[in-house]
């Protein structure tokens, strides 16, 4: 039996094509994935991301615990509401999950983890909590709706009386509480907008109110092409427990500079670096997909995420290739039974409505 979010009925009523997404029955699209993609880049759209798991970390040792638990440095979090993206590593330096940590106060940090890894994450976090005075509480009664696009914030302010005053001054990557709701200026699309946590019971009404304001529902299909264009990693594809975050485009999130020790740090310092995550633009006709083999001047690599980019109107990919390969090099990708030409580029490919290539 697939799990359903509080918005399942709304998706059904809106004509969603529902698919099994990691054990959840989720909307893939509501008609056209490409139109939904453009809708978010050009105006705004809303996503049900209630399958993601919200966790609260409470207790006097919260900061010390997280400092030990994750690869990024929670000491960057000093202003209440500020968010931090990080990987959570195992002892070998592999990525257990990627997550966002919101700092609310010294005894309350809020974390959002991926749906498919939530149970594994919670077990790991419980295990690592030994010796720390912290309490880890999964908030299973919260739904989450992302509203994304250049007009997203305006639409939320229209749909949610009182929210403008509370969230107007939020800088990107920070959050504020509003009653039982939690509004963060974060997202997974490369566009401005909010991710809004709301009690499950209230979610259908809020979703319907946004729809009345003209906000279109967007499925997970467009969510994937939007995040790929924006150069954001997808757990399970671009990295997993076997992958070094420094070879997965996550070096900017791994704090090796401070004295602080964290799980996986020692292993990371010892592991030789062979690969980088790079962008690919397909020159020939076709579509790049994950697991296709890449041949470069410095050896073999593999595509981790590939698709058609609606903004660039050509196929793009993230690929793990030898770290010596420079942007601009032409490589070959085995696409089905043909070797196609692709160009190595720096990503992101598109953000804020525009191509960056």
């Amino acid at each position: 039996m697939l799990k359903r979010t509080p918005l399942y009925q709304a998706h059904s009523d809106m004509g969603a094509k529902l698919v099994d997404f990691g054990g959840w029955e989720m909307p893939l699209h509501y008609g056209s994935q490409i139109e939904e993609h453009h809708q978010v880049r050009r105006d705004c759209g809303m996503f049900d991301v209630s399958h993601m798991q919200v966790l609260d970390i409470r207790g006097k040792d919260s900061r010390n615990y997280l400092s030990h638990l994750v690869a990024n440095n929670v000491d960057k979090l000093r202003t209440p509401g500020k968010a931090l993206y990080s990987a959570m590593l195992n002892g070998e330096g592999g990525v257990i999950d990627d997550l966002i940590i919101y700092y609310m106060d010294e005894s309350w940090f809020r974390i959002v983890v991926n749906a498919g890894t939530a149970e594994k994450d919670i077990a790991w976090m419980e295990k690592q909590a030994t010796g720390y005075s912290v309490e880890i509480s999964p908030k299973r009664d919260l739904a989450m709706i992302a509203v994304q696009g250049p007009n997203a914030r305006e639409k939320v302010w229209e749909a949610l009386p009182g929210s403008r005053e509370i969230t107007e001054r939020l800088i990107p990557f920070s959050a504020a509480e509003m009653g039982t709701m939690f509004i963060a200026r974060t997202g997974y699309t490369g566009e401005d907008g909010f991710e809004i946590m709301i009690p499950a019971k209230a979610a259908p009404f809020f979703w319907a109110t946004l729809a009345e304001q003209g906000v279109k529902p967007i499925g997970l299909g467009a969510r994937d092409t939007l995040r790929l264009e924006a150069g954001m990693n997808l757990y399970g594809q671009d990295m997993d427990e076997t992958v070094n975050p420094l070879e997965a485009g996550l070096a900017w999130t791994v704090d090796l500079k401070s004295e602080r020790d964290f799980i996986g740090k020692a292993a990371l310092l010892e592991r030789p670096l062979k690969y980088q995550l790079a962008g690919l633009l397909l020159i020939d006709r076709g579509v790049l997909r994950s697991h296709q083999k890449v041949s470069t001047s410095r050896g073999e690599g593999e595509i981790t995420s590939g698709s058609f980019s609606p903004t660039l109107e050509q196929s793009i990919a993230l690929a793990r290739i030898p770290k010596e390969v420079a942007a601009g090099e032409e490589v070959r990708v085995m696409v089905r039974d043909k070797l196609l030409r692709a160009k190595v580029v720096k990503y992101p490919f598109a953000r804020n409505g525009k191509s960056l290539i």
Binding site: I34, G221, R285, G286, S307, S315
Partner: protein, 129 residues
Amino acid sequence: MNIPGNLKYTASHEWVRLEDDGSVTVGITDHAQSLLGDMVFVETPEVGRKVSKGEECAVVESVKAASDVYAPISGEIVAINGDLDGSPEKINEDAFSAWMFKMKPENASDLGALLDAAAYRSVVESEAH
């Protein structure tokens, strides 16, 4: 579900139209396009290529996935629809007009083995369960 009665079908979701000149026109069904979603790339076979029944001879790729198109009968590819090259979305808009290729059949008996609309409908319905 849109399954025109004047066409023949395969269990692999191709539609086949028997033309007056003895050739057949092939495309993918509306059901197939709806499963695949927005089309972004179509690779048609080369004119003159001889294919066997069931052989992969074209590819349709949507944003979501790539899918092979199989020869519904044995024979020679005699024409391809070049319009799909720049506008693969025509398959989404009207799968039964967006033909992919035409073939000259090798064995007339292959035609008799194709599914009629009712038989194809039951194939689709059985897949849904």
